[in-house]
Amino acid sequence: MNKKIAGFLICSILLFPIISETKAFADENSYLSEGQTKEILSIADDIIAWKKSDNGSSENGYLINEKFLELAGTTPGDWYPIGLGRLGIADNYEGYLAVIKDQIEERYKTPGKLSAAKATEWHRISLAVLAMGGDPTNIGTDEKGLPINLIADGTYNRGKTTPLGRQGINGWIWGLIALDSMRYNIPDDAYYTRDDIIIEILRQQLADGGFALSGKTSDPDITAMAVQALSTYYNDEKAYTYKQKVSGEEVSRTVRQIIDEALLCLSELQLDTGDFASWGTENVESTDQVVVALCCLGIDPLTDQRFIKNGNTLLDGILRYRMNDGGFIHSFTYDPDNPTSLPDQSNTMASEQTLYTMAAIRRLSEGMRSLYDFREEQSSSLRQRISDLEVQISEIAASPTDAADISELEKLLASFYSIPENERCYVSNYWTLSDTAKEAGIDIDKISVTTPVTESPKDESGENVILYFSESDRNAADGLPENLTTEQYVLVTTLLDKLNKCEDFDEKNIYLEKLTAAKNDIASIQAEIDSINTEIKEKLYPFERMTLRDKETVDSIAARYNKLGEYDKAKIERWEDVIKTKTQLDNLLRGIIIGTVLCLIASATAFSLIRRIRRKRSQKEKEMEELALMYKKDE
């Protein structure tokens, strides 16, 4: 992963990972052993422990602390919540939702909203919001007072402003993942249909079956991410007709064909040590992505023979990068030119990707929904129905000949198509049934059209959690300093959100008033910081053109700066330039004052000199006159 390397251009492109479905083995019992489950969970726990210490959280405190929340809405700030949420680990979910909502509203006030070019900002944030229990289709309000819908703006309507694929294939891949995270419906007046997005991915497949950001060599990360996105459609018999980008040929293919080829490509790219190399560097993240892709397909990543090399599994490949502190490194190839990724120091991105990879494995082994499928879990009866069907499919004869075989196949197909359409992707070995039925000449389409769907009964749902504004919340609100700074932004935002959602209590209004006022104060401090930064950038340069006329401006910037608290002062960029200009102008003014004073002294001296000369002269004249008088008298 010279991503790190390629980093600075493409980092933002790659900051994303992805989903999928199943190519199945008839290994309905491939779930993890007790020991393996323990191992997966302890890998995840240790990553969280490492991140907490990296983050200044206490061992028993939340990973999502105030410091962490300052990063809500950025790559490192959103992926840990996704990992935590999908593992079902309790943490500060409410805090994340409160801050991300506020951040989204702020960012929606700018012309590019979440990003001018990168639709993946919408996708990543949507997934994090879902993982924390929020609703990305209704999070905050825009300046017109309308609810913000990240799914609409970031996927099917993205094309109304900027093409979804402006940043490359990632935009399409992650758009599809976000769109299918809750199997969102696309309205009729949308810019893209689902098929538009699927075809954009399919057409970018390379000759070797994989995918890449650019060029003709497949990259494991992008290939795995494409598989994750397409996995939802693995069991669809629908053939898509499109023109391949590489060959220019028009083809008609199913998603299953594409995914099978991509898996073959990935299998070939896997190294003897079980891991993968991307951009020439062996690294953990590529391996993480492949594991997630397999889990999305319902394939057991630990036993699939295509992904065991030289006895090493994908998990063996991942564990090569584990550090003693529980975190993971990006790569252990020491690169003296790359100080951002040390071979002996745990790294945020490597650890966050490994964390959600563990969630993906765990979810598969527990029969839960795949990593990026955020819908309510399947009811136990639906799960049973699917697992029974999988067992039956695993028992079908390899080459059906007699009428009994055929009728059995037809019966199984009818069972499959009676499952609600959006749940069929969880039948991990449907492909065996499909292949065998086609071989026997059965008309699958006919069965799919004529079989009525039967819903399974739902499980009893749990109770909604009521939030309390606890004693410690009150103490935190009471303990807010008199002079607020933006340092209290996260705290005030989360407290206020909690207060708004909690049930009534006596002093609720007092707290509401206090926290709303605090929120507004902090917002105006932030606006002041932004305004000072803009002012400096626009009015202070170039230095040599600064004249005394600018003194007022510079003095007012300095005065405004001095009013800020210490924490906020640190957010003023290039303050040293203001000092420099202020000194320059103050010196100039001082020079002028000194000059003026000197001129005054010189004039005063000159004046007295002239007076003295005049006086002397008139004295002399007088003397001369007196002398003349004396002479006259003498005469």
């Binding site: 600075f8 490192p76 402006r166 000194t583 000194i594 000197l598 000199l609």
Partner: protein, 180 residues
Amino acid sequence: MKKDILSISVIIFLIAVVINGTNIQSIDEYYLTHIDDITPDSETVTISIRCDTILDNYDDLDPALRSEEFVPPDGVILPPTKYVLRPGDTVFDILDRAVRYNKIQMEYQGADQNSYGSVYIQGIHYLYEFSCGHLSGWMYRVDGEFPNYGCSKYKLKDGQIIEWVYTCNLGKDIGCIWIE
């Protein structure tokens, strides 16, 4: 008579001081206000900013940016310009100074906001990553080489030459080899 001569010399002296300049500074003040002055002793670096590659890929450019206001006809946003190297200056510091001093628009992502631990340059002169195709963005070269890490991690030395160049093809169009 003596008094007159004294007065005259005082006047001459004062006028001489005024003509010579009255900008009397402490050493600290002098250092501060002259920090960017290039003297024979100063350590300096040179920085330039170019977007030539866009001229060859104009069709891929975001239509809103198709104007000389954003893409200069010769591709030069900042010709090679010398700056004094202050202790600890990184490539980012010099870029930030250059765009501020020359009033060139620039937007970046802070080091804590991405997984790379370095400042990431999103756009210069309104030309952003992906503004000219999905493989486009800003890269930097120091003494002809493309470092493979972030610009706020690269500490500069005396005499180095920094070039910020816009690529439309992941660096391949500007001679970046490691990306192959």
